[in-house]
Amino acid sequence: MSGPYGTMAEKVLMKGNEAIAEAAILAGCRHYFGYPITPQTEVAAYMAKRMPKIGGTFLQAESEIAAINMVMGVASTGRRTMTSSSSPGISLKAEGLSYLAGCDLPALVVNVERGGPGLGGIQPSQSDYFQATRGAAHGDFRMIVLAPASVQEMADLTMHGFDLADKYRMTSMILADGTMGQMMEPVSLEAPEVKTYDKSWAVTGTDCKRPHNIVNSLYLVPEDLERTNFERYERYRTIEENEVMYEEFMMEDAEICIAAFGVAARVSKNAIMAARAEGIKVGMIRPITLWPFPKAAFKKAAEHVNTFVSVELSMGQMIEDVRLATECARPVVLCNRAGGMIPSPEEVLQRIKEVNGGMTK
């Protein structure tokens, strides 16, 4: 497989945003719809360059709203499709996310987060955690939320995200931040084996050979709507049982457990190394799937960990999931920066030391 960066199996330096784009293409996505917004615009720029050369569609939509609805159109035909944006743009896509869920359509949506609320700023943030894992839009629904912590993971989770979306007929979201989107790291890309999924529900034209397919989220009879919700949540339960991903780092003897994802986990690794050098027994659980959240891993850790520290680029959002997962069996404290600021390894180390000294707030 040869791309603009040479043979794809060989390591190349790529921006996270570009890695997402190329990985999507390798995963068979041929229809991309987007709208410019910092810090994710490289995804669109990359697609604009590549798609016309491989017979795909790149379309700069008139709005984020139109983009997600174009995605819905392609998804309705059973083809792999995606859109990408950053925080304020994802808010605009909210309506479409709900419809994708209600219609049980597979799609990949990328959020390269920036600080908020409102127009906020353009620097990295993780303050859309609630939005992604809880309240993306109206109605009862979930999205699979994948949180890469390296450029390689930006690519790998993009490919994985397409598979999960097809497997469970729902939206996979890549929840990254400005750092992940903008940074370059060596990455090795290979076309994944694309499995085939039953897409007999898709609108492909009846060919006058079958009853018409209807892609729809409207159920005026509440009993029917309730049934679709229960069925959907049954599927979500399967996902919670089978698709959880996380990384444990130095957890064997950890008395303090950091919870962090994305760039916060990268920063925390430095802090953990420094703390370990001073004899502090600290480790980390890094959720890779934010939904489904690695509840069991945290619950198990609570058996030997004294205190959890949630390191976040937000005012503290994932911390609620850590508390829920551990059933508040141990104190969970926050170490955070917000608004586009990133905690430094020194700040995280400082917090670790405070906690080691017995602080539980």
Binding site: H31, F33, T57, L59, A61, E62, S63, I65, A66, A67, N69, M70, V71, M72, G73, V74, A75, S76, T77, R79, T81, E95, G96, Y99, C103, V203, T204, G205, T206, D207, C208, K209, H212, N213, I214, V215, N216, S217, L218
Partner: protein, 250 residues
């Protein structure tokens, strides 16, 4: 001898529309066009939000139900996914000319090779008779109880006139379904709008001036009269743009 038959592209589902509503006629005209072009098996329709939300139940073709106003964007996605399919949207005035203006304008600007059937009856029907972007000045609705006051509620949006300014828009015609002559003409226009797409020509939109007896508070018959006396002077019928005919003439 059968002189009048149900088009193949209409299902047997009974229509839910109010007595005297013209959606039934327009559905039929769309189905007839699909039948005549022999495209039933490769047509995909996009249903809107509004009274015609359940249009997906009435056409035998594959259907997608879109969010309010987003049908042209969904249609764009479907069409781009497989350009060999014939893709149409069926939208009301609130859907197309208010909440979905942006999607409408840009689908036209792109010259998206789709067909839009735009049903303009100057009112929100599904929600019970509120002011629409196309409600006439002075028109009484639930949300303009003293009549639409243009000083505070602005002027109606004339969709065909507006879109005719766009280079991307191909074929724009306004028709009505208030009498046999107009219905016949509407049929021709809708057929042409689909044929344009089959021939790969580009964006076609047919605005169908129609009635809403229930929310206008009129009998079906009086509603047709009201359409004739009030709607048509404000929304003159005719071809607003036919870029394809102009190009052919060159």
């Amino acid at each position: 001898m059968t002189v009048f038959d149900k088009p193949k592209s209409l299902t047997d589902a009974p229509l839910h529309y109010c007595p005297g509503c013209t959606h039934g006629i327009i559905h039929r005209l769309v189905a007839e066009a699909i039948d005549e072009l022999g495209i039933e098996g490769r047509t995909i329709g996009i249903a809107p939000v509004g009274c015609s939300v359940m249009a997906y139940n009435y056409f035998t073709v594959d259907m997608v139900q879109a969010a309010h106003g987003r049908a042209p964007a969904v249609a764009t996605g479907v069409k781009r996914a497989d350009p060999s399919k014939i893709v149409f949207t069926y939208q009301g005035d609130g859907d197309l000319a208010s909440i979905g203006t942006c999607e409408t304008v840009h689908a036209a600007a792109r010259g998206e090779n789709i067909t839009i059937i735009f049903v303009n009856n100057a009112i929100y029907g599904m929600t019970g008779g509120q002011m629409a972007p196309t409600s006439l000045p002075g028109q009484i609705t639930q949300t303009s109880p003293y009549g639409r006051d243009v000083a505070t509620q602005g002027y109606p949006v004339k969709v065909c006139e507006m879109l005719s300014q766009l280079d991307g828009a191909g074929y724009l015609e306004r028709v009505a379904v208030n009498n046999v002559k107009n219905i016949k003409n509407a049929k021709k226009a809708i057929l042409k709008a689909f044929k344009n797409q089959v021939e790969g020509k580009g964006f076609s939109l047919i605005e169908v001036v129609s009635t809403c007896p229930t929310n206008w508070g009129l009998t079906p018959e009086k509603a047709l009269e009201w359409l004739n006396d009030n709607m048509l002077p404000y929304y003159p019928l005719g071809v607003y743009k036919d870029k394809f005919a102009e190009e052919a003439a060159k």
